[in-house]
């Protein structure tokens, strides 16, 4: 039986080993890079676009209001865009895929859509997680500005305590938030009028 105020060497060794296992486990689960999922056109958005009787559009430059908007993290993992680490380019790629799938994209069209990413955040907290994206979308027909609005995409979801579940879920929900932003754009009466 051990004395109340003393500890054996073997106990210390066991403790150090346990700590080493914990540190190794933690190091293996964190600090990786998570790349956003390639965006796929969604049935709802394609149907919204196809319902518009108007002509075709092309895509111009998409930028971020601040370089910080391209740096996100999910549970200590860096969350990046698959397009030159730029979430503005990711937004452009998402819009392109919806326009292409609906047959509304023509690179030669004089109606040009440009965008500026204004907010970009994701918080996969334990419990209720959320993501928010907003972008200023400008459409020009020749030199005339025919649309100039900030559109938003917002999501909330129940996240998990376990990172292996929470991280892929957050990755998926980011794409869902972008889908909502585009759905809001396509549903805007002024946008419908332009197309």
């Amino acid at each position: 039986m051990m004395a109340p105020n003393r500890i054996s060497l073997s106990g210390v060794v066991r403790l150090v080993a346990a700590l080493a296992v914990c540190v190794a486990t933690m190091s293996l689960t964190g600090c990786a890079t998570v790349v956003a999922t390639p965006y796929q056109p969604t049935n709802d958005n394609v149907r919204s676009l196809q319902a518009l009787p108007g002509g075709l559009v092309s895509l111009g430059e998409f930028t971020a209001k601040s370089p910080d908007l391209n740096h996100l993290s999910i549970r200590s993992n860096s969350f990046t865009s698959p397009f030159n680490d730029s979430f503005a380019e990711y937004l452009k790629a998402a819009l392109r895929s919806e326009l292409e799938a609906s047959g509304k994209l023509d690179p030669k069209s004089p109606v040009v859509i440009t965008g500026e990413l204004q907010t970009n955040s994701i918080d996969p907290a334990m419990g209720t997680a959320n993501a928010h994206i907003s972008a200023r979308i400008v459409i020009k027909r020749g030199n005339e500005t025919v649309f100039d609005k900030v559109v938003h995409g917002d999501s909330e979801w129940e996240s998990s305590f376990i990172g292996a579940i929470a991280i892929p879920m957050a990755r998926q929900q980011y794409g869902e938030t972008l889908k909502k932003l585009l759905a809001n754009l396509f549903a805007d009466p002024s946008f419908k009028k332009v197309l």
Binding site: N5, L9, R14, Y39, Q40, R47, A101, G103, S160
Partner: protein
């Protein structure tokens, strides 16, 4: 050999050591639970449709197919890529259409197909954890529900909507499968369920007259 009490507080360290041990066991349990056996069963409720029984249209027309797979209503990109070829292949094999394409086309018929995988994640996680913790002795069964919704849109005609439900049951560890159902190999379960949903859609489209 021992350390003086001024260097280490024995009680707190021993408690921490025990806690670290418990954490280690939990990690091992979670890791080992990946080795538990799973068995898959397909719900028998949805009618089984044979491709040969589909009613062929007099003049097949081209169709542009849009497909999306969702998990609890959220677009699931990976699953979309996995399931899309199964759905497209089934539509092609039906020979109900002269051409089946996904790229923008002049086809006047557009078929929007969405399959939503409905699963109670919290319930599945809680049950799976219990099964893992007991190394499969306490088995569990989870249900993956699938709902296919489709819109058949054609220029100059009202849109026609269809909806079907299907399910795959999966047992993990020591649990009985649904009574009267035979086990299906893992690789076949999803394919058979997706084909079953698509064939029911095609069957209704072919017999309702909307393809004429």
């Amino acid at each position: 050999m021992s350390f003086p009490p001024s260097l280490l507080s024995q009680n707190s360290l021993v408690r921490f050591g025990r806690n670290a041990g418990v954490v280690g066991v939990l990690f091992a349990t979670v890791l080992l639970s990946g080795c538990l056996s799973t068995k898959h069963y397909i719900d028998p409720t949805l009618p089984k449709i044979d491709i040969a029984s589909l009613k062929q249209p007099t003049t097949p027309q081209p169709v542009q197919v849009f497909f999306e797979f969702q998990t609890n209503g959220t677009t699931n990109t990976k699953a979309t890529e996995y399931v899309r070829p199964i759905v497209l292949d089934t539509i092609k094999k039906s020979k109900l259409f002269s051409d089946v394409v996904t790229a923008p086309t002049t086809a006047q018929r557009k078929l929007f197909v969405t399959i939503n995988n409905l699963v109670n994640m919290d319930d599945a996680k809680a049950r799976g954890f219990t099964t893992g913790l007991t190394f499969g002795l306490s088995g569990t069964m989870v249900t993956d529900g699938y709902q296919l919704t489709a819109s058949d849109a054609m220029t100059g005609r009202d849109e026609v909507k269809h909806s079907y439900k299907h399910a795959i049951y999966t047992t993990i560890g020591n649990a009985d499968g649904p009574a009267g159902l035979s086990e299906v190999p893992k690789a076949d379960a999803v394919r058979l369920a997706m084909e079953g949903l698509t064939l029911n859609l095609l069957n209704d489209m072919s017999k309702s007259g909307e393809l004429q």
